[in-house]
Symmetry: C2
Subunit: 468 residues, 2 copies
């Protein structure tokens, strides 16, 4: 009888492009990870047709399939077992079409995000989705995880920047919805199924992206506040004052800011030391001098109204880099020991109360921990870093309880932008009701009745293989 690898190879052109055995298991499990892929078969299809053929065979055989993009995920959503087949999209990395007037780009799923940005820049265009992993992550993975990133407040998540998707269903059916227009109300919007479902409902093979005209003029400031209520009032005020040009609103609690300012080597950032909250605000526009005036006037207005205690406006690219360094060089937080990183969301009116509760929960524990909070507040997205001197693995479940439990009564989410994968699966029911999880299972059953696609991720589902 033919082995699984032979069956897969037989349905690819010229035997296909596959890594087997040690060639597969010597690959890293992820960009920021020390462990390796467990699967012993990695298929690298070169076309949608090949993806379709592979899935058709896997479906017939009840063979589990895990799709791999750039492997920059943070919740173990692309983890494999020895029994899985990996479908790596790395060979499907062609840009099919760019329509500079309609401002759309059609790409294969394996194109790295950075390449999309580069091609856009050549045409005076931009694709607003941007994140730290841009050099490694692939657009198919950005869609499958509904990536967030740095400009969500203005341009939304990946979901909001995708017009069309071609996906292959579990049984190999090619579902082509490569819509190129903003508006298409002809029946159900099927692409939504594949965005943010972490590869459990289909394999994304091509996408139509919505592009924008490039906005080259950036203005950045670091702002201080006396209390949390003023942070919220200022967000609403400033967003209005910039008439929608606000493209970042990153808030730092004092624990985070003081630690970072001490550790990062930045000069010229003399901001009011008595401020209790800090924010990096940024506008993105086109007319540098006129917008500088608007930006400065809006900050002055905020000072006069007592919304902010101080503001340092970047006068140069160096200044801008220094301001962002405080926010971005999160590795300084890890100096004190082992760390855990969290990504939650909740209504911003409840956010400070929530931060206080998590801090109090952690303080009650028997172990010492440091706690740093910051985030894309404009999006309702909070990040925490919890650092323990030692034995983090031992305390991990307790720390997770401290962070996730208070979200439930506040209607918050255990995952703002990172997804669920395996890492947050145990906590899904804090954020989603039994009815919601039941409907997710209903959709999974309808789209992938044998459960071969990325089994065990997000929630458990009866299928041939399930990672617990």
């Amino acid at each position: 009888m033919a082995s699984m690898s032979e069956k897969i190879s037989a349905c690819l052109a010229d035997g296909g492009d596959m890594l087997l055995g040690d060639d597969a298991t010597s690959r890293s499990a992820g960009v920021w990870r020390d462990d390796s892929v467990q699967a012993t078969i990695i298929v690298r299809p070169r076309s949608t047709q090949e993806v379709s053929e592979v899935l058709r065979v896997c479906h017939e055989e009840g063979q589990s399939v895990v799709t791999h993009g750039g492997l920059t995920g943070l919740v173990n959503s692309a983890d494999t077992t020895a029994a899985d087949v990996v479908l790596s999209m790395e060979r499907m990395n062609n840009i099919i079409d760019i329509d500079t007037l309609g401002r759309t780009m059609t790409v294969q799923a394996g194109v790295p995000l950075q390449q999309i940005h580069d091609v856009c820049a050549e045409h005076g265009l931009m694709f607003p989705v941007d994140l730290g992993a841009r050099g490694s992550c692939q657009i198919g993975g950005n869609a499958a995880t509904n990536a967030g990133g740095l400009r969500v407040i203005r341009y939304g998540m990946t979901r909001d920047n995708i017009l069309g998707i071609e996906a292959v269903l579990a049984d190999g059916t090619i579902l082509s919805s490569l819509n190129q227009v903003l508006k298409n109300n002809a029946g159900y919007d099927l692409k939504q199924l594949f965005i943010g479902s972490e590869g459990t409902l289909g394999v994304v093979t091509q996408l139509v992206l919505r592009l924008r005209t490039e906005l080259p003029a950036e203005h950045t400031a670091l702002v201080g506040f006396s209390d949390y209520q003023r942070v919220l009032k200022f967000l609403s005020y400033f967003d209005g004052a910039l008439a929608g040009n606000l493209s970042a609103f990153e808030v730092m609690w004092p624990d985070f800011f003081m630690h970072q300012r001490a550790k990062c080597e930045v000069k010229g950032l003399e901001i009011d030391g008595d401020a209790r909250f800090f924010a990096i605000v940024e506008s993105l526009g086109v007319d540098h001098s006129q917008e500088a005036e608007t930006f400065g006037a809006a900050l002055e207005g905020a000072m006069e109204e007592g919304l902010i205690t101080d503001a340092v406006v970047a006068q140069s690219d160096n200044d801008r880099a220094a301001i962002w360094k405080i926010r971005d060089e999160v590795e300084h937080l890890f100096d004190g020991g082992e760390h855990m990183f969290f990504d939650v969301s909740l209504a911003i009116r409840s956010m400070n109360e929530y931060v206080d509760e998590v801090r109090a929960n952690l303080a009650k524990q028997s172990f010492d921990s440091q706690f740093y909070s910051f985030g894309h507040l404009g999006d309702g997205n909070l990040h925490f870093c919890v650092v323990c001197k030692s034995d983090l693995a031992k305390y991990q479940p307790t720390i997770e309880e401290c962070v996730y439990q208070p979200l439930e009564p506040l209607g918050g989410s255990i995952s703002a932008e990172h997804g669920i994968g395996l890492q947050k699966k145990a906590y899904l029911s804090l954020t989603r009701s039994d009815a919601e999880i039941a409907v997710m299972r209903t959709l999974k059953h309808a789209m992938d009745p044998k459960g071969i696609l990325n089994p065990g991720k997000i929630f458990d589902f009866e299928g041939p293989v399930s990672i617990q």
Copy 2:
């Protein structure tokens, strides 16, 4: 044995609020229609719990249910037969919560869109979804049909402005996903199922809306072009020049513009008579004088670069009203006889070629017809009005063929914003592949296996009742 109305009444508080027999059938079938509701039972639930109880009973009995909002739809998506039960959302019209700092509003599905705008205005906020039917349409219907409207180019469709939805499933299960944050990647985004599915997958009962800070400063101009290619280049240029403040880009072909200018009583709109295309452009911002400068300078730049042949900038509210009058008073088109109205979308680079083809198709027919084209070009959305002196009903299928057939090779959609309902059902396969329609049926089967929800709309599905 209890009748259907008795069974429904029995599960409502105090016998519930129902219209039976003539009280039901004397109701209009729609705001712009002459015919009446055919259903003899109209239930007006006062809570999500009542919706749930009604659906539980209907599901048990295999009773078809058609949800009614403001009945402003244009594709017969809320049509009933004598065998249907209507679930009218008119009593569920409460605003539950407005969070002025988080800029969200939680509402019941039956709240009219106009009321949402009014409440927003009291707080210096806005809900960007806006359309002509604002006084009659309800927010639940806007969601169920994914309404488009006047500001899609900047703010997207209704889908893009909804954060959370509570819906009741066919069997009465209450699915509450009243998310209040921009970012929530905790499993599948279930609200997407109910947006744009025209009431076939569930009944929307509550929504969380994303609000924006109000932008009071409007600038409007009427612009002329020598050819279509320049319209496209100007769109990209102008959107960039306004740094994202562009909130309307309405293009009028000469057939439409010349007819309307002759019919509408507008003064002071002296625009280049040799122009071949016309557009209304609008920016929405906050600093009136500064933005006037940007707006004027961008138009001057376009003149210098030869992108436009002329521009008339509105200097007053009267000017603005005159400009919009030409676009909005479409009733003048109907002077010549009976009319049909179309709503399609396609890539803007193909749009003029498509218009020419439809015009040529119609010219080949044996009957005389007038043809007017215009639309939300910035969104890839084109409207046509075809006017026949007489016998429109006879020619309707031919006219539909002339308009819809050329869309297929261009990858266009037979419905940009109006939906499918009954009216466009026969043409769905021009826009959606067999695989896509099969997946729509799969979802319908998974969510509503008995097919009781709005049967026969969008596509046929085996259920107890099917409108053909």
